[in-house]
């Protein structure tokens, strides 16, 4: 989706606000939101990825909300979309009378272990469409759904720098749709290809893109 989240290359977002000795969480609720998201994800019962609900917010809402407010919005939408809670339950804060207890909660040890289990790499053997050193063009696609191909790279020509191997395709699996295992590459674009003459000639930008994002150049 060509939403505000896809902000690489925008120039009027203000100064970077640096905080010395920044705490991990700025309020207790932030930690609880993070932890609930992680613990619910660890149940493997969610059928929607973290980002689609966030990317569906209006630009004004997206920029107004803090990071963990975005996560909270996403978590509630994912819980509802996955059939784990209803909107009525979210409003009342209580389980609906007669509703069954899910008993899917992961243990403390299981939840912490899951931090390190990022099941993105796939064991399937898939033939890569491209080889290191090959020139490629990022496809000019404008889906209204989630995509990991940022706007600034679309239509631009780069070079395959490295084949990372086979990964699940997040453009589709974020919706619980087909996982479409395929090769993920580090694609190197010269900064001038992306930004023109203002960029230093020796600088470059590396973007991780999937087979489905690329075409021969």
């Amino acid at each position: 989706m060509n939403g505000i989240h896809d902000m690489g290359g925008m120039q009027d977002m203000g100064p970077i606000k640096y905080e010395n000795n920044e705490p991990v969480f700025h309020a207790t609720w932030e930690g609880r939101v993070y932890a609930m998201s992680a613990a619910v994800t660890a149940t493997r019962k969610l059928r929607l990825g973290l980002r689609p609900p966030i990317e569906n917010l209006s630009a004004a809402e997206y920029l107004r909300m803090t990071y963990y407010e975005l996560w909270l919005t996403s978590l509630t939408e994912r819980l509802v979309a996955s059939g784990l809670v209803t909107r009525a339950e979210l409003e009342s804060g209580r389980a609906a009378p007669g509703s069954t207890k899910a008993a899917v909660a992961v243990s403390p040890a299981g939840a912490v272990a899951a931090i390190f289990q990022v099941p993105a790499r796939r064991e399937e053997s898939v033939t890569p469409r491209f080889q290191a050193g090959q020139p490629v063009r990022a496809r000019n696609i404008n889906p209204v759904t989630h995509t990991r191909l940022p706007r600034y790279a679309r239509g631009r020509v780069g070079t395959i720098y490295r084949d990372h191997g086979v990964f699940g395709f997040m453009d589709t699996n974020a919706y619980g749709l087909s996982d479409k295992p395929q090769h993920l590459y580090s694609v190197r674009f010269s900064a001038r290809e992306l930004w023109g003459e203002q960029a230093a000639p020796q600088d470059s930008v590396f973007v991780d893109l999937y087979d489905d994002h690329l075409e021969h150049a």
């Binding site: 977002m13 203000g14 609930m36 939840a111 790499r121 990991r148 990964f167 470059s204």
Partner: protein, 230 residues
């Protein structure tokens, strides 16, 4: 902070659950002290999820504790310091970051896929996630707010030298800048250059110099006497 107001809001929170009266919503302005609307909503959501058997509050405590006390930039600093003192380890780290951090007990068998990017006198690497907040959580912990913010995400990719100078990192013009946009599930860690004059230091003393910012690539590691931030 006005105590009666805090008492009122705490009482309101208890009685009304997630109800957002005008006063409670206004409390967002004072979120350090007052239960804000969002804090009440989060509390309500947690009790619902516990009641429904979807989460265990003890698991939430364990996750918060892990990030507040166990997983954080000190882990990454240990990896960097080891690479500085042990050339064979550095080779393994650059060849296969995932396996090399596992040697020090970080990550996991089904863990993050890590690539390590080496900074030098001629190449400077910088990591960003323009679309969201991807970051090497396993050894740096959760990312700082600025890393997840619109100003950094939007500009790091188009004006890395300008962004670096805002962090006090001014690079010679002939240095090659490589910006890595973490758009997928491949994670990146910058291996900074060891600062001059630290050749005799122990691995532990070196690790104490390594900052989170240097491992993202927005800063260099400075020698002990000049200090640094982050």
């Amino acid at each position: 902070m006005d105590t009666s107001r805090r008492d009122f809001l705490t009482g309101a929170a208890t009685v009304a659950g997630i109800a957002a009266s005008g006063d409670v919503a206004h409390a967002e302005d004072h979120h350090q002290e007052l239960p804000s609307d969002v804090a009440l909503r989060v509390k309500s959501l947690e009790s619902l999820l516990v009641e429904k058997g979807i989460v265990d509050s003890a698991a939430l405590d364990a996750l918060v504790d892990a990030y507040e006390h166990k997983i954080g930039p000190r882990n990454g600093a240990r990896v960097v310091a080891r690479a500085w003192v042990d050339p064979a380890y550095k080779q393994r780290l650059l060849a296969n970051g995932t396996a090399a951090i596992a040697e020090l007990g970080y990550g996991g068998s089904n863990g993050v896929d890590l690539r390590v990017l080496e900074n030098s006198a001629t190449v400077h690497n910088l990591v960003v996630c323009t679309l969201c907040s991807c970051y090497i959580w396993a050894i740096l912990g959760l990312p700082p707010v600025w890393y997840k913010s619109a100003p950094y995400r939007s500009r790091a990719i188009i004006d890395p030298r300008g962004v670096l100078s805002e962090f006090g990192t001014v690079l010679p013009e002939n240095v090659e800048v490589r910006v890595w946009d973490s758009t997928a599930e491949q994670r990146y860690l910058v291996l900074p250059e060891p600062p001059a004059g630290t050749e005799g230091l122990s691995e532990e003393a070196l690790a104490a110099l390594v900052t989170r910012d240097a491992m993202i690539g927005v800063a260099k590691v400075t020698p002990p006497q000049t200090g640094g931030r982050g």
